[in-house]
Symmetry: C2
């Protein structure tokens, strides 16, 4: 369900033209920041800047995070340095980091200069972690207490600092060095005797993420432990931030999108489809497409070897696309299954032997099925004998046997290629359906004509 307020939202354009700014301002304050962003996004640059300037500063910071990078840059250019300084100082540190990463380096440096020393230090800490690391995803807006405080002291601290925290469901306990030693639920504080110490309600059992780990690790751990947030520690175990489940859901979705695009046989776009520049989108597709096209030329070379056979029995050429594409399809299934299972951690590199056995068995079963269908197609087709000559049963057998071979090989190649890529340090998702299909096509030509040469020698060949 969309926000009710958005559906009955104000007519921003009309209010702007009539300069009824007060009325516009009070209407916008009532609405969810994400929806205000939508209302502003459809205005022209000038109107957008005017409307944006009407917003109270905390709402402005929230709304700003919902714009895409282009809109953010346009607004920054129009609303004046002082206002920009207020704005980016009010933003959540993780959103601010995302903004600074998207902008040109020059703009980024200018913006960092506008931050207060405290905010600048937070931002630079986050920016120093590797790209796609948990450190870039975390926010330092959490509440931590010390083990020797009383519950009353801790609650006082929580009331004071909880204002800016992203979550107060969980309160983190640190020792005097800032080392994380426990995570406690807010309800444990609410239920405890105010004179007890924090120490007395601790169980010293907690799960933490490492700031330098890949952000996919955060996705896996948040799902594994079913938490709305997990703490992040540095290499010494010092608490440096938290990662919340809503940010992790964004990451999971982005990673899946990247994988799907790679599996479709292209580079990841890293931007919404309709918003990505046409030239960069075409470039990202052209690369792999050209590589595959050149690779696929090997089919012509392979078929050249069998030119004599094709001349003797043109009917062999008729079935070639059928045979080789069945291998490509089987390979596409296998590679999609394995890549996804790897991405979500269901299959680890050490499981390759188990996957190999399973996929060989699957490939043989599927190959037998398709081979049987192919055999029946030729044998039962009305007028097969006339169409394909007197040796049509041998031809049918050739189809069946090579389909079995090609499907089995396709399944084998599709399932093992992701392991191979990962082994040599590449992204398994590069084992795209088109890549596997091309590989299997070349092999398929060889399997098909070799089988034909063997089974049809002395009859059709």
């Amino acid at each position: 369900m969309e926000s009710l307020n958005r559906l009955i939202g104000p007519d921003v354009g009309a209010l702007l033209e009539e300069r009824r700014y007060d009325q516009l301002r009070s209407a916008l304050i009532e609405i969810e920041p994400a929806d205000v962003a939508d209302l502003i996004a459809v205005l022209d640059d000038e109107q957008a800047a005017v409307t944006f300037r009407l917003l109270p500063r905390d709402l402005a910071a929230d709304v700003f995070t919902y714009f895409d990078a282009e809109q953010q840059e346009a607004l920054i250019g129009r609303i004046g340095t002082e206002r920009v300084a207020i704005l980016i100082n009010e933003m959540e540190p993780d959103d601010r980091t995302a903004l600074l990463e998207e902008l040109p380096a020059q703009v980024t440096n200018r913006l960092i200069a506008l931050l207060t020393p405290a905010e600048r230090s937070i931002t630079q800490t986050i920016l120093n972690y590797p790209e796609e690391s948990i450190g870039r995803l975390m926010t330092p807006d959490y509440v931590r207490v010390r083990r020797n405080q009383t519950i009353a002291e801790a609650m006082h601290h929580i009331r004071r600092w909880g204002r800016d925290a992203e979550t107060v469901n969980v309160i983190y306990v640190v020792d005097d060095d800032g080392m994380l030693i426990d995570d406690l639920k807010i309800r444990q504080f609410l239920l405890a005797d105010p004179d007890q110490t924090v120490d007395s309600i601790m169980d010293e059992s907690f799960v933490a993420l490492r700031a330098t780990d890949d952000r996919e690790e955060a996705v896996r751990q948040i799902e594994r432990y079913d938490r709305v947030a997990l703490p992040v520690v540095d290499s010494r175990g010092i608490l440096v931030g938290i990662v919340t489940a809503d940010d992790v859901a964004d990451v999971a979705e982005e990673e899946a999108t990247e994988d799907i695009q790679k599996m479709g046989g292209m580079e990841a776009l890293h931007a919404p489809y309709l918003e990505s520049a046409f030239s960069s989108m075409v470039r990202k597709r052209a690369g792999w497409l050209s590589v595959l096209f050149v690779g696929q030329m090997l089919t012509a070379t392979a078929m050249g070897i069998f030119e004599g056979e094709i001349e003797k029995a043109v009917v062999l050429a008729l079935f070639l696309p059928l045979i080789i594409s069945s291998g490509g399809n089987a390979g596409s299934q296998a590679t999609s299954l394995v890549i996804r299972a790897m991405a979500v951690g269901e299959v680890e590199p050490r499981d390759w032997g188990q996957v190999l056995r399973r996929e060989l068995a699957a490939g043989l079963s599927l190959g037998l099925l398709l081979g049987a269908i192919g055999l029946l197609r030729v044998v039962l087709w009305p007028g097969s004998a006339e169409a394909y000559g007197s040796h049509y049963f041998l031809l049918a057998l050739t189809l069946a046997v090579s389909t079995l071979g090609v499907v089995t090989f396709g399944t084998f190649a599709g399932s093992m290629l992701p392991f191979l890529l990962r082994r040599v340090g590449l992204d398994p998702a590069a084992a795209s359906a088109p890549f596997v299909a091309t590989l299997v096509d070349v092999t398929g030509v060889l399997i098909y004509f070799t089988t034909a040469a063997f089974l049809l020698r002395g009859t059709m060949l």
Copy 2:
């Protein structure tokens, strides 16, 4: 980072053999439920049941939710009715619903009978929502207060009921009929004067999900509004539950997995790869593979039309796989892009015209590029004249023109098929790479030989 405790976890097997149950019990209590589940999962059924019975009831319920459906069923059979009753009454309602859905209907009915009337009513409410709806995903464990309560009364209520809530970050305000009228952050309560009424801190701005909507809607809204939880209302606006971001992250991941499997050309497995039964996995792959194989037979029929041409110029057959597969690859890119953009809401059905224009332009660009590569391949190849006869330049032109045509058609078909499927009420993800490739292969044969017949008439043909 994995839980530190798991790495130094107890040697369960040894402790069981030595019957040091007390020691085992206290060791397990210290560990995260997800990790306890891992330790138990590797034991045999008998040992697992013994260990499981050692756990205190609330931990047991938590641990139980981490087992897969098979392990859950095995345990239920072994631990006795009374213990099962305690267990499923202690489980979170959303986890319990997930369990009851997985089990055979007979077992489900037996378990529902074991629930207390209150828990039974919650479970049946959730089970009555359509599969994959938000209603199945929600939990009724939230805290709600009334608008005319004072902050002090509300805080008393939160302390009392917050114990079992999944989140206390957000407190929901309802009117006398249970209608949701606001969501307030817990920090607003912590900071307010205890004598104020809840009314006085309300802003009446909130976002809610509808229980009957598809669970993908929950994914989109949680991401859109960056929340750790969103309230769920029924058709009358009555608050019936909340959905938390960690459950939504699971859904996003599951939905992406289903899409990837469909896009690979098979039915979704709905189970982790290594845990899904071999026979059901092969069945889910065999269906589409057979359909595609039968569809691909049309290439043989199409080629049959041009058998005369192939006999006259066998060289045409050599380049056939190259030409048609380039269309399949281009189509695979386009369909992956569009399906994913639709799944995450970047592209709506009404955007089809914009996508069409964009993809036609992309298809033409990519087709020109590949066509040029194909032309150069034949023209520049050492000894082309001898290998391909005196009309090799015309042959090269045939390749280039048909590559352009096939790639453009592949891109067109790949991008429009998801819209078509959605229009007729099917899942766009069924426009898999293999499906598009098969469609394009058949068309590709026609495009290629028609181009050849036109350009090579009087020379090679």
